[in-house]
Structure formats: structure tokens, C-alpha cells
């Protein structure tokens, strides 16, 4: 799995976790539209993820996730910078410019022994498996507690839950810790190297506590690996031939072999471990928040056989009597949706359409069930021409707007979607048509074809003829 692919894989699990956490604690989202989008998913996991992505987009959680990702990246980079600076500082403190010689033993202890000890401790902690909170984990939670925007908080909490449930903490924190140490050691090594290149250093071996034998033993042990590369061991006997250049090379090699190399290995190990874990991330259908989606997923498979096409056939064939050859059998017949019309007005409209030369499929869209049905028909043939006849005597409101928006999302491309604002009682009524036009152009991002019409003196046929003329 490539880097980018793994990243997007992780992101979609993160998104699902965010949505799941909210739904499990606060209750479900209104997901009719998201489920409609997720309907094409082949398995439950994809179904959950597509639905979650859709909901996340609707509620801006995708932005929250991006924000938290960015925050974590910035913190990570800051940590690495800090580690690098510490490395440089450590190296400088080991090689004082004026005061005499560099203590080789000190350098070995600070750069190799301490590092080795930490690696061993990390290994033990992993083997023993206790969940002692590491400072990094604590820092992560501290960082998240500073978030204020609820969208960001939800994104962060989702992440935290995901890495706990999928056991990503150890490989994750391991990767970060090792990369920090690696940065520190590399920076220290580079600094040492540069200093040895530009200045003339003397090296001293003796220490207060360690005898010459001890030191010789230490050097002999350390020299095992460099010896394979043909490096000669430094001569530490007092009075012996004293070669600072040789010592410097030896010291640099030892740091590289005993400090930097093991860290690289650990880091790579953790990274692979993490990648493997991310690769095997799963959606656990028994978790609360996911388990409730199973019925919807199964229903989705039933719903593929929607009753709409049958009705459509009927409709089309009944109208073919008057217009035998122009219309193809079903999903090309134009759709006319009547939004919020009383039954008798709708009957008048239908009647008027029957006197038109073109066959259309009319639907009254008042109730929630009717809205669902209308959207389902559209999924079957998203590229058919669609006319929405709005009852412009009513006040515009968010509910109707949402329905029109979901039509555009459902694949009614703006080229096919026409809106007719119809006032059926212009003689008596207040004019809200202009309000509708303004409202729609303000809130529907895709450019719409909006026309306004009036039913004058109850002449429905004239209005429908006019509608039809404008539309086609």
C-alpha cells in the first residue's frame, strides 16, 4: 500500500470514527441523503465509510479533520526541531572550544550509552505491555484539550478513539519517539563532524573513577563492529602515539553504529508496524454507532428493486397512446415535480399535461415519503430533464430549499433542472414569486433556470402550455 493510499485509507476510518462517536453518544444524524449516496457500496465497510464521508462533508467534519491533521503536523515538526536543536547543543557541550581536550568517555556515555538505555527501556515497556502513559501521549491529549471549536474537538476525539480501539498508539508513538531521537542523534553527529573538521581537538581518555583497564575494556568492546570495517582501534595508553584524527574518526563511527543505526532500525520497524496496522484497519460492525447501520445497509440491498420503474413503464405506456413513437420506454421521459401543491391544484395540472403533445411523468411532492420517492426516481435516470413546479403562493423556506438542493446533488445537473415559480391565484394573492427567485438564486450554488408563471382565471391548460414551451 502506497503512502497516499494508506493516508486516504486512514482518513476514511478517521471520518467514520468521528461520525460513529457522535452518533453513539448523541444520537443519529439525519442521514437519508448520505445513505442514498452510500447505496452503491459493495460491502458494509464501504457503506459505513461513504455514509460517514457524506455526513462529514455536510457537517464540516472534513474541515475539522484537516485542521487537526495540520495541528498535529505542526506540533510534530516543532518537536523534531526541538530534538535537532538539543542534538546540536549536546554535541557543542561535548566539544568545548577552549578548555583542553574532548573527553572520549563522556562522549560515549552521552551519545551511545544513554541512547542505548532508552531503547532498551522502550523495548521492555513494549514487551511488558503496561500502558504507562508516555509524555508524548500526554502531550497529544493536552493539545486536544486546547481545541475550542466543536467541529475540531469532535474530529480530535474521533481520532483519539480510533487509535485506541485499533491499537495504533504504540506503533504511532514509537514512530514519533524514534524519529525524535534519530533527529537528535543525527544533529549531534553532524555537529561533531563539522567541529572536528573545522577545529583541532585533543582527546583525553582518563576519568576519575574508571581505571585504564576499564577504559581499555570499553574500547575493545566498542571496537568489535568498527573492526569489521577495517578501522584501527585508538591507542589510549598514556605516552603512546596519540593520533587525534584517528580517534575522531573512531568516535564518529561508533556513534553512527551504536546510536544512529539502531534508532533507524527501530524507527523503520515502528513505521512498518504502523503501516501494517493502518492497512488492516477494520470497521467493527458490532460497535455501537455502526451496528445500528446494518438494517439500513440491508434495506439498501432490497431497495435496489424499487417499485418506481414499474410505475414509470405504466405511465409512459399510457401516454404513448397519444404520442406513439417519440418517447423511449422509461428513464428518458421528462419528470415534472409539483412541490407543495394542494391535491386539487395538482389534479388540474395533471389534467392539463394530458392535453400536451409531450409525455411527462408527474409527481406530487408534499410529504416526506413523496420526497424520498421523487429522489429515488431520479437516481434511476439522473440525466432526464426535470421541471420543479414550485407553489409560489407559499413563503419560501428551508425545507423546500433543501429538497431542491438534494435534487441537484442527486444528479439532476443544472442543465436539466428547471424551476417554475407558479402562482395559481394571482387575482387574490400576495406576490411572493420574487422572494422565491431571490431566495433560490441566493442559496442554490449551481445556476438554475428559473421562470415564473401565473394561472390566470383558472386556465391551467394555458399555463401548462406556456410552461412546456419555455422548458423545451
Amino acid at each position: 500500500m502506497g503512502q497516499a493510499q494508506s493516508h486516504s485509507h486512514f482518513l476514511s476510518h478517521w471520518t467514520s470514527a468521528v461520525i460513529r462517536r457522535i452518533e453513539a453518544t448523541q444520537g443519529p444524524f439525519a442521514d437519508a441523503e448520505a445513505i442514498r449516496h452510500a447505496r452503491t457500496a459493495s460491502n458494509f465497510e464501504h457503506f459505513v465509510q461513504r455514509r460517514a464521508e457524506q455526513l462529514a462533508q455536510q457537517h464540516q467534519f472534513d474541515q475539522g479533520i484537516r485542521h487537526v491533521t495540520m495541528l498535529l503536523r505542526v506540533s510534530y515538526i516543532a518537536l523534531l526541531l526541538f530534538a535537532g536543536l538539543s542534538g546540536v547543543g549536546l554535541a557543542i557541550s561535548l566539544t568545548p572550544q577552549q578548555a583542553g581536550a574532548v573527553s572520549v568517555v563522556e562522549a560515549i556515555v552521552m551519545l551511545i550509552v544513554v541512547n542505548g538505555l532508552f531503547i532498551v527501556l522502550w523495548g521492555i515497556a513494549n514487551l511488558v505491555g503496561n500502558r504507562a502513559s508516555s509524555p508524548l501521549g500526554w502531550g497529544f491529549h493536552h493539545l486536544l484539550s486546547k481545541l475550542r471549536n466543536p467541529v475540531h474537538v469532535n474530529a480530535a476525539l474521533g481520532l483519539s478513539q480510533l487509535i485506541q480501539q485499533q491499537r495504533l498508539i504504540r506503533p504511532g508513538l514509537g514512530t514519533i519517539a524514534h524519529s525524535m531521537w534519530l533527529t537528535l542523534l543525527s544533529a549531534a553527529w553532524m555537529t561533531l563532524f563539522v567541529r572536528f573538521v573545522v577545529a583541532d581537538y585533543q582527546f583525553s581518555w582518563p576519568t576519575t573513577l574508571l581505571s585504564e583497564q576499564h577504559i581499555q575494556m570499553l574500547v575493545a568492546t566498542l571496537h568489535t563492529v568498527p573492526a569489521w570495517f577495517g578501522l584501527s582501534a585508538p591507542n589510549i595508553e598514556q605516552g603512546g602515539s596519540f593520533n587525534p584524527q584517528q580517534t575522531a574518526w573512531w568516535l564518529l563511527t561508533c556513534v553512527l553504529l551504536y546510536a544512529v543505526a539502531p534508532r533507524i532500525l527501530c524507527w523503520l520497524g515502528c513505521k512498518l508496524w504502523l503501516r501494517q496496522r493502518v492497512g488492516t484497519l477494520t470497521i467493527n460492525p458490532t460497535l455501537p454507532g455502526y451496528s445500528e447501520l446494518l438494517p439500513a445497509f440491508e434495506q439498501r440491498q432490497v431497495r435496489v428493486v424499487d417499485p418506481a420503474p414499474a410505475e414509470l413503464h405504466m405511465q409512459a405506456s399510457s401516454q404513448r397512446k397519444s404520442q406513439p413513437s417519440t418517447q423511449a420506454v422509461n428513464s428518458t421521459v421528462a419528470l415534472v415535480y409539483y412541490l407543495d401543491w394542494p391535491e386539487d391544484d395538482y389534479a388540474n395540472f395533471r389534467h392539463a399535461w394530458q392535453q400536451q403533445p409531450t409525455a411527462v411523468h408527474c409527481e406530487l411532492v408534499n410529504s416526506g415519503a413523496q420526497r424520498q420517492h421523487a429522489l429515488n426516481i431520479l437516481t434511476q435516470g439522473p440525466n432526464r430533464p426535470l421541471l420543479v413546479v414550485v407553489n409560489a403562493r407559499l413563503s419560501p423556506e428551508r425545507g423546500s430549499l433543501r429538497f431542491i438542493q438534494s435534487l441537484t446533488k442527486q444528479g439532476a445537473s443544472s442543465r436539466q433542472l428547471h424551476i417554475a415559480l407558479v402562482n395559481a391565484r394571482p387575482e387574490t394573492g400576495s406576490q411572493r414569486t420574487e422572494m422565491w427567485r431571490e431566495y433560490l438564486t441566493q442559496h442554490v450554488p449551481t445556476p438554475l433556470h428559473i421562470e415564473s408563471f401565473q394561472v390566470v382565471d383558472n386556465n391551467w391548460v394555458a399555463t401548462v402550455t406556456e410552461l412546456n414551451a419555455h422548458w423545451s
Binding site: I22, A30, Q58, P342, M435
Partner: protein, 478 residues
């Protein structure tokens, strides 16, 4: 403190805020417009009386009843809450959608759950559609008494009976037809009466409120009469002294007098507006269009008087001024009659003292400018009409209106004018600094007479009697 909380709920743009404006008699409450979702927050108006409070909550409109009803069903299915409406609504309020797609609806429901009852406002011009029925179903889940208000009931398009049927279908049998822009007089009382039925435990409080509202109305009417009576006495008693013989200077002083009266009238109109809760400097005056139509005519414009059918006397200085009587040294005309009448009516020694002072002035060659009876009549007619209008006008009404003035029975007020004329000191008009600003020369001459007799008990007596007469006239002419 005993309190009742009432929420105004309903679809967007059906006149919720308008209804509250009318019920509160506050034309500035909230924001009213033709646009949907004008009100976005819940706002509260507290009305206190003795130890009880009625809190009215204006809520934003329900805009997606269909979507919310589906979501609630979805919730109910998931949480096994088919038959516990309030609990289901609580679940909804805790759900993520209560801050997202249905945040506005959540505000309404949260408020309704905290209130004793809800007034569900319906635009009866709308057909009964699925979305409104879904709304009703949602609101019924709150298990709060709902009183449907059939708004726009006086519109020709009103489909009131269809709505009554739809309400009966969900067991809402008590409703009130109330047009918040052109309300009937008892409409408000009907609302309280129905609320009392819906909230039996609050019946005592609600019917007390109903009485209180009636009482407040009467009080306002009396207060209005007082304001007008003060205006009339001030204008009747107003007299400017002048010694000039020059016609131009005299004209100037007549203009001054007119200006003073105009200002005084403006002041009284403002007080009336304030009394009835229409703010002076906001849209309301414009809405009433005082500056248009007949009202626009200047008080001293001959056309103005004529259009009200008031006869003007021909006594005008140089033909320029109407309505300012010039009392030359002719004892027995204005001065004599007025003073003698005043003296007989009041019978107090002050009138004789004042009379003596004025006789002295006349003998020294002063002349007096005063406001003509025709103008005083017009003042009465205009103010009476405005009061009647303000009293019945809904605070939700945003359309302009023209006032027609009925001048019948104005003759009855003449004795009051005459009485006040006898006491120039009773007029509070020109004693203020505003007069100084006006014309210093007149101010100095007049200040001799402005001996601040405003708190004279006899004056008060006259004002009270005049106010009573004004109230009576308004009631009779209704």
C-alpha cells in the same frame, strides 16, 4: 411571583412576531418582514402586573417540518421511543442535528418544552399541506397545550374552514381567529379566555389578566384625554402682548404665535404616540403618514379648516394670518366676554385680579394675540381622531393609514375655550426656553404675564372636566 410562559410558534412568515406586537402593544418588538426566517433567535417580552408575570416568547419559524418529522421518526425507531413525545424531543435536542440541520427548529422546541402553552400561528391563506401537518405533529409531541391562532382570517383567501378541519383531525378543537393586522376588539380577550380553558390551573390568573387588559385600555383612554385637554387649555389661554402698530411686525408676531401652537400640538401628538406604544421617531409615524393626506395640512392653513368644515372668522391681520385673533382695545368683545364668563364659571378672585391687570394693559395701548376658536376646534378634532385611531390600530400594522376627522359636536367645547381664555397665565406654552429661542422681544413682553399659574386648582378643574368631555365624545361617536 406567579408567572405564565407562553411560546408563539408556527411556520415561517405566518405573522408570529406581528401577533406578539399586537398583543404587547409594542410596534417595535422584534423584526417583522415579508422575508422568511426574519426572526432567528428566541426573544422574550415580560409583562408584569401586581405579583404576576406573563412571559411571551417569540420563536423563529419552523422551516423544515417534513425533514424534522422524518428525522424524529428515525430517532424514535432507533431509540425505541414511539410513544413518549417529550422524551423523543429531548433526545432530538441532544442529538447532533439539533445544532446542525434543525438548529432553528430545535430552538422552537426547546422553548415550547419550557413554556406552559404554545400559540400556534397559522396563515390561513395557505392550503393545508403535508408540511404543516408534520409541523403540528411535531409540536403535539411536546405535550403542551396548543392554541391555534388562525391569522389572516379577514383575508379573502382565508381557508379557515379547511384549517379548522385539519386541526380537529389532530384533536385541536379550541382555536381563535385573529387577524394581527386588523384585529377585532374582543380578539385579544378570546385568546385569554381560550388559554384559561387550556390551562385550568391558571384560570384565575388568566381571567384577572383579561380584566386588567380592559382596565389598562380605559386608563389609556383617560390619559389621552388629559393630554388633549392640557393642549387645549394651553392653546386657549395663550396670549401674546404686543405694542407694535406696524403691520409687518405684527405679522411676524402672528407667525410666532402660530409656530408656538404648532409645537405644542406636536408635543401632544408625541405624547399620544408614546402612550399607545407607537414610538415617535421610528417607522410608526411614517407608517401612519401624518405627513401625508389631510393630516399634512397646517393647522393655520385656511384650506385645512375648511376641509374639516370649520368656519373661520374674518378677523385676520393684513389677511395673512388665520386663526390668530387680534384683540384690539375693545372691551366687551373677546376680552370682556371671555373674562366675564371665566369669572362666572370659576368664581375665584384670581380671575378678577387677572382681569384688572389686563384692563390696565389695554388702557396702556397693548394689543393681544390669541388663538382663534376655529383653530382650537380643529385641534380637538385632530387629536380626538388620532387617539381613536391609535386605540384601535394594531401594533402589527405596517401599512399607512389616512385619518378622517369628524367635527360634529365641536361646538360643545367652546365654553371650555372661553373659560381658559380668561386666564393667560394658565398657558404653559410660552414660558419655556423654547419661546426664548423663538423671539426674544415677544418673550420679554410676555414674561410679565407668565406668572406661572399652571398649578392653579381652577385650571386643573377645567382640564379634568374637559378631559371627561373628550372621553365621552370619543365613546359616543364610536
Amino acid at each position: 411571583m406567579d408567572s405564565i410562559k407562553l411560546a408563539i410558534v408556527g411556520h415561517t412568515n405566518v405573522g408570529k412576531t406581528s401577533l406578539l406586537r399586537t398583543l404587547l402593544r409594542d410596534a417595535t418588538f422584534g423584526q417583522v418582514s415579508d422575508q422568511p426566517s426574519t426572526t432567528r433567535d428566541v426573544s422574550v417580552a415580560r409583562v408584569e402586573w401586581q405579583s404576576s408575570v406573563v412571559e411571551w416568547y417569540d420563536t423563529p419559524g419552523l422551516e423544515d417540518g417534513v425533514g424534522l418529522y422524518e428525522y424524529l421518526q428515525h430517532l424514535a425507531q432507533r431509540q425505541q421511543l414511539r410513544h413518549d413525545g417529550p422524551k423523543l424531543l429531548q433526545q432530538f435536542l441532544a442529538s447532533p442535528e439539533a445544532d446542525a440541520s434543525y438548529a432553528q427548529e430545535a430552538k422552537v422546541i426547546r422553548q415550547l418544552l419550557q413554556c406552559d402553552a404554545g400559540l400556534y400561528v397559522i396563515d390561513t391563506r395557505d392550503p393545508v399541506l403535508a408540511k404543516f401537518q408534520d409541523e403540528l405533529a411535531i409540536l403535539s409531541m411536546a405535550a403542551r397545550p396548543l392554541l391555534p391562532i388562525l391569522n389572516f382570517s379577514s383575508s379573502p383567501e382565508s381557508q379557515q374552514s379547511a384549517w379548522q378541519q385539519a386541526l380537529a383531525n389532530v384533536n385541536l378543537h379550541a382555536w381563535v381567529a385573529f387577524d394581527s393586522v386588523t384585529p377585532e376588539a374582543q380578539g385579544e380577550a378570546l385568546i385569554y379566555a381560550n388559554l384559561a380553558t387550556l390551562l385550568p390551573t391558571r384560570r384565575a390568573l388568566l381571567s384577572a389578566w383579561q380584566q386588567e387588559i380592559q382596565q389598562r385600555r380605559t386608563q389609556r383612554q383617560h390619559a389621552a384625554s388629559q393630554i388633549i385637554a392640557e393642549l387645549i387649555v394651553d392653546c386657549s389661554a395663550l396670549r401674546l402682548h404686543t405694542t407694535t402698530q406696524d403691520a409687518d411686525a405684527l405679522n411676524q408676531q402672528v407667525n410666532d404665535l402660530q409656530q408656538l401652537v404648532r409645537q405644542r400640538e406636536q408635543h401632544a401628538t408625541n405624547s399620544l404616540f408614546k402612550l399607545y406604544g407607537f414610538s415617535v421617531d421610528s417607522v410608526d409615524i411614517n407608517a401612519l403618514q401624518l405627513s401625508q393626506g389631510r393630516w399634512q395640512h397646517d393647522l393655520f392653513n385656511p384650506h385645512s379648516l375648511k376641509s374639516f368644515g370649520i368656519q373661520t372668522s374674518k378677523v385676520a391681520a393684513g389677511g395673512a394670518a388665520v386663526g390668530a385673533g387680534i384683540d384690539v382695545m375693545m372691551l366687551g368683545t373677546t376680552l370682556g366676554g371671555a373674562t366675564l364668563l371665566g369669572a362666572t364659571l370659576g368664581g375665584a378672585w384670581q380671575s378678577w385680579r387677572s382681569y384688572g391687570q389686563r384692563v390696565k394693559d389695554k388702557l396702556r395701548g397693548y394689543r393681544e394675540l390669541s388663538v382663534e376658536t376655529s383653530v382650537l376646534k380643529l385641534l380637538v378634532a385632530r387629536c380626538q381622531q388620532l387617539t381613536r385611531h391609535l386605540d384601535s390600530r394594531a401594533h402589527a400594522n405596517q401599512s399607512p393609514s389616512t385619518l378622517t376627522v369628524d367635527t360634529a359636536e365641536l361646538a360643545d367645547f367652546e365654553p371650555f375655550f372661553e373659560h381658559a381664555r380668561g386666564f393667560p397665565g394658565w398657558s404653559s406654552i410660552a414660558s419655556a426656553e423654547q419661546f426664548q429661542r423663538f423671539q426674544p422681544s415677544v418673550a420679554t413682553t410676555r414674561s410679565r404675564l407668565a406668572s406661572r399659574q399652571n398649578d392653579d386648582p381652577e385650571r386643573q378643574h377645567l382640564v379634568d372636566k374637559l378631559a371627561q368631555r373628550l372621553t365621552l365624545q370619543r365613546i359616543e361617536s364610536k
